[in-house]
């Protein structure tokens, strides 16, 4: 082969690195060819473009977020399995130190930003407009932009694995380690630009859903009538808009340091790396609440539905959500008690961190009281919710231990911490998102996911979880530090590490069961013909599954909390069936290709800056500006669905009153 090509292959395609890269290259190539072939063979290109890529429908955007989140859960999970395989036995050389660094970096970053975030956005999109009786979000076009920014940022981030090299300075990427001098490759740039792009999308989503919830509720729905999932969205969005700007600045300044030679966080010329650490965690801690609050919202819906009771302590649930979102902003320094800020500062942050436990405790007790004496149905969403309670309780307790500043000097950056945050992130966020996915799946797709396979997945995942992470608390006490790629045989850590790795494999089996479950249910899952498969309480269950694209033919009037349940109790459900004479033309946003193109332009810009190709970077940005200007001058971005079309749709759904 020509030597120019070999140089390129070594430098950018990393073909020297061995079979893992070759395997991925081949896999990516095959999958891409497969997708292109399938789309062409089944004549689906037009469908893909019309129905999905240019859509502004919140339900479809939600589904796209969900698919991406599951794919990213797979990628992050594969990373995790590689890490645990490496740690299974002492002195292992399955992965080199460099590869271990890269993999824990991509694992952490993907799990938080490209798995947990899109998962909550999936549920926001699918659920919130339906729960509040709206036909879409406040800014559907912006919503599509948010999605495509996330999508292309995830592409950019994942591209690093096969083109140029993965980031390797951990998901927090502290300088000076992440500065050019210590970390020259493009990997760290990938991290910075991908996070910047997806972060812009997240801020837009936060704004969008706040505006939606404040301005577009059905008539009569007071704030204190809103379902708790919607409330949790409010809380999470408030935190998003207050926290994400700090991330944007932290990584923007680091990007300037790396690409334009400034000195914010270098040791040289007066830079201050601790400023990055502060800015990062001003976002980073609230971020964990951003992802867990929606999970709390899911649990509240699930518990009430499957215990067939009103949620216990609704107002205290709302108050605790809002309180958590405020307190979460005043605890960030607990991530670096060891910085040396002094006893007074550490005391403040230690006490604030412990305070978060109070509203969280209130919520846990409310869920328990709701279940108490309820007629509980052990469906999949309920199983995950019940499993969440003890898991989160242990995670919370170890969190309080970490929040005790003097004690943290012992646990800091040990496996005790790793066990703690996986317990709250998996037990809190992942369990919650899976519960939400099972719960709203029929609303999205019109069929239920198979119970039996789901139970296998549940037990494998849960048992695997404890087998994997409980030993890590002990390992932490025994002195094992995080981010070690291997360890000597005489530390007494061998057995516990092996057990932990076995646990990780068991969890992987659980995930495989979920995949099988989804594939099986597409064909054999129980169809949902009523729109209300769980005997639900809130407005989304008054609609057919899946909902027509305008959601509500006639916007309902809401008079109480849990309206749908109340109407069912009183035998008045027919009131929500639209009457032909009440139907008016429905105002809807038009599809647009521009959000997708804008995401693409951001991708080009990001790619350019990653490789210091400034001309390409600015070319991409010019594309972004062009999209913005075109939008500013656009006037016909909406249309009306004529009455007869709505009447026909409702009639075929058998819903005309």
């Amino acid at each position: 082969m020509p030597s120019g090509f070999m140089q390129f292959a070594d430098k950018y395609l990393m073909w020297k690195e061995g079979p893992m890269i070759w395997g991925s290259d081949v896999a990516i190539l095959l999958v891409s060819i497969g997708i292109v072939f399938a789309l062409t063979y089944f004549h689906k290109w037009k469908w893909l473009w019309r129905e999905w890529i240019t859509t502004v429908d919140h339900k479809k955007i939600g589904i796209m977020y969900l698919i991406c989140a599951l794919l990213m859960l797979f990628r992050g999970g594969a990373d995790a399995e590689l890490l645990r395989t490496q740690l299974a036995i002492p002195n292992n050389h399955f992965l080199s130190a460099e590869h271990y660094d890269q993999i824990f970096t991509t694992h952490g970053t993907i799990m938080i930003l490209f798995m947990a975030m899109p998962f909550i956005f999936a549920l926001f999109n699918i659920v919130v407009p339906l729960q509040i009786g709206a036909r879409d979000v406040a800014f559907p076009y912006l919503n599509a932009i948010s999605f495509w920014l996330f999508f292309f940022a995830a592409m950019l981030f994942n591209l690093s694995f096969v083109f140029g090299g993965s980031p390797d300075a951990s998901w927090v990427s502290y300088p000076p380690l992440s500065e050019l001098g210590f970390d020259p490759g493009p990997g760290e740039n990938y991290y910075l630009l991908a996070l910047q792009i997806t972060g812009i999308g997240s801020i837009a989503t936060g704004i969008n859903f706040l505006a939606t919830i404040f301005k577009m509720r059905a008539p009569g729905m007071k704030l204190m009538h809103m379902p708790l999932f919607t409330w949790s969205t409010v809380a999470a969005c408030v935190v998003i808009i207050f926290a994400f700007p700090a991330l944007a600045i932290a990584i923007a300044l680091l990007t300037l340091d790396r690409i334009f030679g400034t000195h914010f966080f270098t040791i040289l010329h007066g830079g201050n790396p601790m400023m990055f650490v502060n800015l990062f965690w001003v976002w980073g801690h609230p971020e964990v609440y951003i992802v867990v609050l929606p999970a709390f919202g899911v649990y509240s819906e699930v518990v009430a539905t499957f215990a067939r009771k009103r949620i216990f302590g609704y107002s205290s649930m709302v108050a605790s959500l809002m309180l958590i979102s405020v307190i979460s902003y005043f605890v960030w320094a607990h991530h670096f008690f060891t910085m040396g800020a002094g006893a007074d500062v550490n005391t403040f942050f230690a006490v604030a961190s412990m305070l978060v436990g109070i509203p969280t405790g209130v919520k846990v007790f409310n869920w328990l009281f709701t279940m108490y004496r309820g007629r509980i149905r052990m469906t999949l969403p309920m199983l995950w919710t019940i499993a969440f309670v003890p898991c989160f309780a242990i995670g919370g307790a170890t969190g309080i231990m970490l929040a005790a500043a003097p004690a943290d000097y012992q646990y800091h950056n040990s496996y005790f911490l790793i066990a703690h945050f996986h317990q709250v992130l998996i037990g809190g966020v992942v369990f919650g998102m899976l519960a939400g996915m099972y719960y709203w799946w029929p609303k999205m797709f019109g069929f239920k996911l198979d119970e039996r396979l789901g139970r296998w997945a549940f037990w494998f995942f849960n048992i695997g979880f404890y087998v994997c992470f409980m030993p890590q608390y002990a390992l932490g006490f025994m002195g094992m530090q995080r981010r070690m790629y291997t360890y000597p045989a005489d530390m007494g850590w061998n057995t516990l590490n092996l057990i932990s790795t076995i646990g990780a494999y068991i969890m992987a089996i659980g995930f495989v069961f979920i995949v099988i479950q989804v594939l099986y249910s597409v064909k054999y899952g129980e169809r949902d013909l009523t729109g209300d498969p769980w005997d639900g309480r809130t407005l989304e269950w008054s609609l057919p599954s899946p909902a027509p694209h305008y959601n509500f033919a006639v916007i309902p009037t809401v008079t109480s909390r849990d309206v749908w349940w109340e109407l069912k109790e009183q035998g008045r459900t027919d009131e929500l069936k639209p009457k032909a004479e009440d139907i008016k033309p429905i105002h809807m946003p038009k599809n647009s290709a521009r959000p997708f193109l804008m995401g693409l332009a951001f991708f080009v810009a990001g790619f350019g800056f990653v490789f210091d190709l400034l001309w390409l970077g600015f070319l991409g940005l010019a594309g972004v500006v062009a999209c913005l200007i075109a939008r500013a001058l656009e006037y016909n971005d909406d249309y009306h669905i004529p009455v007869h079309e709505v009447v026909e749709t409702e009639a075929t759904l058998g819903r005309l009153g």
Partner: protein, 212 residues
């Protein structure tokens, strides 16, 4: 038979009330104003973080140029004068919009743009002078933070200028409608916001830089 369509895909069944200012009357437009306020909150935090960074490193000059040595009093005073005045004329354009006076609206927007351009021109001039004197952002953490904070504001102003110009074109072409009224209102909100940020830059960066 043509029934009245719902005014927006939201829950509000499109009551347009005429006791509100024009830009708020159509619920499709007023929700955008709310969205814009939320955006401004995030933008304010963006600047907040830049200010915090600046304050942390403002004395980290590494033996290079200091605030006192590079800040030029007549220069930044004139910049302030132009930007504050432009905010006032921007306000006059909103007023003209509410009075339905298209000609005054277009003229005040044009005056605002001209003043904004003068501001940007001065700022670019200031930066070029600094760089020529060796005060580049690669020189020290202080200069990195200074150029980034003030430059971020400057690029916001530039975006605002383009946006205001586009708004002007639309008003000229389409007159004062609920949509263009909202656009005029929002671009002016943005403009005032940048003015407020500048007041902080003026005091925290320039004034304190000279006296402290």
């Amino acid at each position: 038979m043509m029934a009245m369509p719902d005014a927006m895909y939201g829950g509000h069944s499109g009551v347009t009330s005429s006791d509100k200012p024009l830009e708020y009357r159509d619920p499709n437009q007023s929700v955008k104003i709310l969205g814009f306020w939320l955006f401004l909150a995030t933008d304010m935090l963006l600047f907040g973080c830049l200010f915090a960074t600046y304050l942390v490193v403002r004395t980290h000059t590494d033996g290079g140029p200091t605030a006192r040595s590079i800040f030029d009093i007549p220069g930044f005073t004139l910049e302030t004068f132009f930007l504050l005045t432009s905010s006032f004329t921007g306000g006059l354009s909103t007023l003209a919009m509410r009075n339905g006076n298209k000609k005054a609206l277009v003229s005040w927007l044009a005056v605002t743009i001209a003043l904004g351009l003068a501001f940007i021109g001065l700022e670019v001039h200031e930066f070029i002078g600094d760089v020529a004197a060796g005060a580049t952002w690669e020189r020290s953490a202080f200069l990195s933070a200074f150029f980034t904070l003030v430059g971020t504001h400057g690029s916001h102003v530039t975006v605002g200028l383009v946006w205001m110009f586009l708004t002007l074109l639309q008003v000229a072409k389409r007159g004062i409608t609920p949509i263009t009224a909202r656009k005029v209102f929002v671009v002016n909100l943005y403009w005032h916001f940048l003015d407020v940020v500048w007041v902080f830059i003026f005091t925290v960066v320039y004034l304190s830089g000279r006296v402290m």
